[in-house]
Symmetry: C2
Subunit: 355 residues, 2 copies
């Protein structure tokens, strides 16, 4: 990402930009131009009955002529429309969250609701800022995925504004999630069935909630009479890579895990990177599994075994839940859970010893 700095581009013949009209054009202006009252313009723009087709056309024509753009800020302030949804996602670089977003847009799109976006940061672990920004912007309900806050704080925030947590269950808060225990169990059993015994788990950082994936991994290992072996890394690929590197290089050859189950695809990619650096081939020397069935996992050269939680569907359900909450604020808390699907790919195979 280091690139030569740029040359100053020419300003084609000293042109002056077209935009930048200092005074904003308002409905008032449109009304005046069209020779009608401001209320009529408002009515025309909202599409409610009360304007003749001709005058309506005249109004839009006038608006176009003077370059009017409706002010949604003022509009939302004036109207009691309690139907706007805010969407918060942790990380734009993890496509699960983007999938969720797409799902949300699918249903909000149908209802004509606009969605305000808030974006967090994996390194700052500061969803607080993004979340409160959404609240300040008067989102009437917030759909959040990838929340890093401890359960207690999420519950507290949901006290200020209805909140639907996606991808993560939070007691006392509406949520739509996938059965992470089931998914992690599927992965671990898959690895066991292939003949692996030294299976390590690269867990997500503790964020003051449950850790269903890690728990299910550990339980399944113990049930098979094996000792779980966990290590923790951050949320980024590079931090996972560093963790995996030390795991794979330090122990005695016979100690090294033959398979690593990473808590998600992003970190699984980090494991793959580390393996490459160490000259370990996948899956010959090491099996790797992730979680989320990200786009990258499906790429042929990667072909990462993963778990599909159908994030898009989660998004759809979350949007429905959000609207339902808006409709009946005091209905009981809903925790919807979906069943995930294992997607076995070439990154997992029998261990070397079993070959």
């Amino acid at each position: 990402m280091t690139a030569e700095s740029g040359a100053r581009g020419g300003s084609r013949g000293g042109e002056t930009p077209a935009g930048a009209s200092p005074a904003r054009v308002t409905m008032e202006d449109v009304a005046r131009r069209a020779g009608v009252s401001r209320s009529l313009v408002s009515i025309a723009y909202r599409g409610v009955p009360g304007v003749s087709d001709e005058t309506r056309d005249a109004i839009f024509e006038a608006a176009r002529a003077i370059g009017y753009t409706p002010n949604s800020i003022a509009s939302r302030l004036a109207s009691r429309n309690r139907e706007s949804v805010g969407f918060y996602l942790l990380d734009l670089r993890n496509s699960v969250y983007v999938d969720v977003f797409d799902g949300v847009r699918e249903v909000t799109g149908e209802r004509g609701t606009t969605v305000v976006l808030g974006v967090g940061e994996t390194h700052g672990s500061e969803d607080r800022a993004g979340l409160t920004a959404l609240m300040s912007s008067q989102a009437d309900v917030i759909i959040a995925t990838g929340l890093l806050l401890p359960d207690a704080e999420i519950l507290e925030l949901s006290r200020q504004r209805p909140l639907v947590s996606v991808t993560r269950q939070v007691p006392g808060v509406d949520s739509v999630s996938s059965d992470d225990e089931a998914g992690a169990t599927l992965v671990t059993e898959h690895l066991l069935a292939l003949g692996h015994r030294r299976i390590a788990h690269l867990a997500a950082p503790d964020i003051g909630g449950r850790s269903p994936r890690a728990d299910a991994y550990a339980r399944t290992m113990r049930k098979a009479g094996l000792e779980p072996r966990m290590l923790t890394a951050g949320f980024t690929q590079s931090s996972a890579s560093a963790a995996a590197r030390s795991l794979l290089s330090s122990p005695a050859p016979g100690e090294r895990p033959t398979a690593i189950f990473a808590t998600n695809d992003v970190t699984a990619l980090g494991v793959i990177e580390a393996a490459h650096e160490l000259g370990l081939r996948i899956p010959r020397d090491l099996s790797v599994a992730g979680y989320d069935d990200t786009a990258a996992a499906a790429l042929a050269p990667i072909s990462l075994t993963s778990v599909d939680q159908d994030a898009r569907s989660l998004g759809r359900l979350a949007a429905s839940a959000a609207f339902a909450r808006l409709a009946s604020p005091s209905a009981p808390v809903v925790a919807r859970v979906q069943q995930p699907t294992l997607r076995p790919r070439r990154s997992t195979a029998p261990p070397p010893s079993a070959a």
Copy 2:
């Protein structure tokens, strides 16, 4: 992405959600609770001088107690602060745009400006909606990357609101971009230097602007005495994959290109997919190069030769340009251009014949 439908989750003991307070708490309420005037509360929240530290604390304490969240909607309507920036990006799945966004956030973050997001759709080619949404939300300047609109329409939109185009030059509009001709030339020359002669280019759809990458490819080929061979695909990986599949399977063996230069990494990944399906190995049977130096390109198993345009830096420059435009609306149009860097990786190698 097809997953089993979900089971209805239990509603833990019929709890009722915490949130959903029908009446919104306002500054008025805070003022009353703290025993001060509304003006003072406003002053306290804006951080302007005029409040003693003690009363300020008291105000915030009162606000916390009754769960007050400032209403940024009302605030922006009332304030004459014309400094808000809207950011539009085409596709959340193409990490270049996310890089640009990060760059923008870097500088807006320093200035404390919040950024409103608008997201487009690659399949709909409808940036209009996203853009006008940003205008309606009263963004005072718009930074847009991945614009699909024809030059003329962009120019027209920039008439309504100052606009900075990132990643693409548009005559008459502020822009920050990378020298695509230079980058594409680097790639083509790289392939030529490796000994390739049958080099195909997978171009982006025509969107009514210039096509610097395709042009540079064609020019460089001709200069080497070779016939350019172009085909066009959509913006998605799958459409690129389909196009590449037909290109690679139909022609007679000796006709098949030995290298494909795709217009960006997303489509290059599509080419890689197609090659895998056809049993062609990279780079042994086919060299592949992309553009953008996306995260996926750097992954060891992919190792895609690409061009780094330092999108993050583009984002930074765009934000600066946006603020500059806000400061002097009638300054001449600026077109800043950065020089890209070739990132040769393992996906490109000498052609089979030269081996």
